[in-house]
Symmetry: C2
Subunit: 203 residues, 2 copies
């Protein structure tokens, strides 16, 4: 085995461990909240020793930061893909809301942590995550502005329209549970229609 291979293997093993720790932290934060979950809870959920946590992450806050960063980057990627799927603002808004709603149903555990524990981040990390959220807002604001300019949307307040659409989608993570009668796709389609209605799209 060459040195490169050894290095690649050990990196991949370390990344696997980090992933397991993030999953454990996500489960612990989701159940007990950031302040209620101890390093021991996280280690137990990940099937590891508390000491192992600190080998990979210097603090509980760093774990929350990494989870938040991955979560927000993933959401941003799916809504950007959605928005880029068409030139028509109505179709863009539909794709944006579908992606955002479906994500919050499918990833409801991590989405609860990511949306409700923001306040526990250290100032520098908080600012970085807020910047990602603002990017998410900019995407929908731009779609709405284009739709207003072309006369296909009708709303008196662009910003409040964004907040209502994005907020409704975020709230899905609060109530959605696996195994119910609505699939993430069902939820995505309904919220996409609702987004167009909220924006006052001409039917």
């Amino acid at each position: 085995m060459s040195q490169d291979q050894t290095s690649a293997d050990s990196m991949s093993k370390s990344e696997k461990t980090r992933k397991r720790l993030r999953a454990g932290a996500m489960a612990a934060f989701s159940e007990l909240g950031f302040h209620g979950a101890s390093t021991r809870h996280i280690a137990t959920a990940a099937g590891m020793s508390p000491a192992a946590v600190y080998v990979h992450y210097k603090s509980k806050e760093e774990l929350l930061y990494r989870i938040s960063k991955f979560g927000h980057e993933a959401i941003l990627a799916v809504v950007r893909d959605g928005a880029a799927s068409s030139d028509d603002p109505a179709e863009q808004l539909r794709a944006y809301a579908f992606a955002l709603a479906k994500y919050h149903a499918q990833e409801h555990v991590s989405a609860r942590v990511v949306n409700y524990e923001l306040g526990a981040l250290e100032p520098e990390h908080h600012a970085e995550i807020i910047a990602l959220r603002q990017e998410l807002d900019r995407v929908v604001d731009a779609i709405l502005q284009r739709g207003l300019d072309r006369g296909v949307f009708h709303t008196a307040n662009l910003r409040m329209t964004s907040v209502t659409i994005v907020g409704a989608c975020i709230d899905i993570a609060r109530w959605y549970r696996d195994g119910g009668s609505w699939t993430p796709d069902d939820v995505g389609r309904f919220y996409a229609d609702s987004a167009l209605r909220i924006a006052g799209a001409t039917p």
Copy 2:
């Protein structure tokens, strides 16, 4: 002073203390989460000693239960008043959503606790609060059903329409902060319009 008066005075003093403790618990739960807030945090927030907490509430969970019960009963009262303000389903839905949205802006601290810490309640208390939430759903479902029957609303899925409207209003507690540019009334009016749009009300 008659014995009745003494008893009334001491009841009122005890009720004041309990109210102060609930406010302290609300602040502590909102900041640190139910599992992250200790009796000491609650007592400090209320300006009392930790021992005083147990004189009035037998556990942290009982405090959460009382806060949740008061909060849900208050919400139920305002939306019922709203729904009773007219015979017209469109006006009823507008009043319902206005009341629910305004409440979640005005009472955003307690509303966050009430909506996001439900899972920490003991089974019996949890069932009681869920019953109050179902009552809240029944009010909006009945309005939507009447509107569909009269042909003033248009939606393929009544239950998902309710969930979308109620969920959007609940989410306000996540993002609303005092001192911003939107008053609780501004938010109430916008979400009331959005509720009619989501329900497919004939303009």
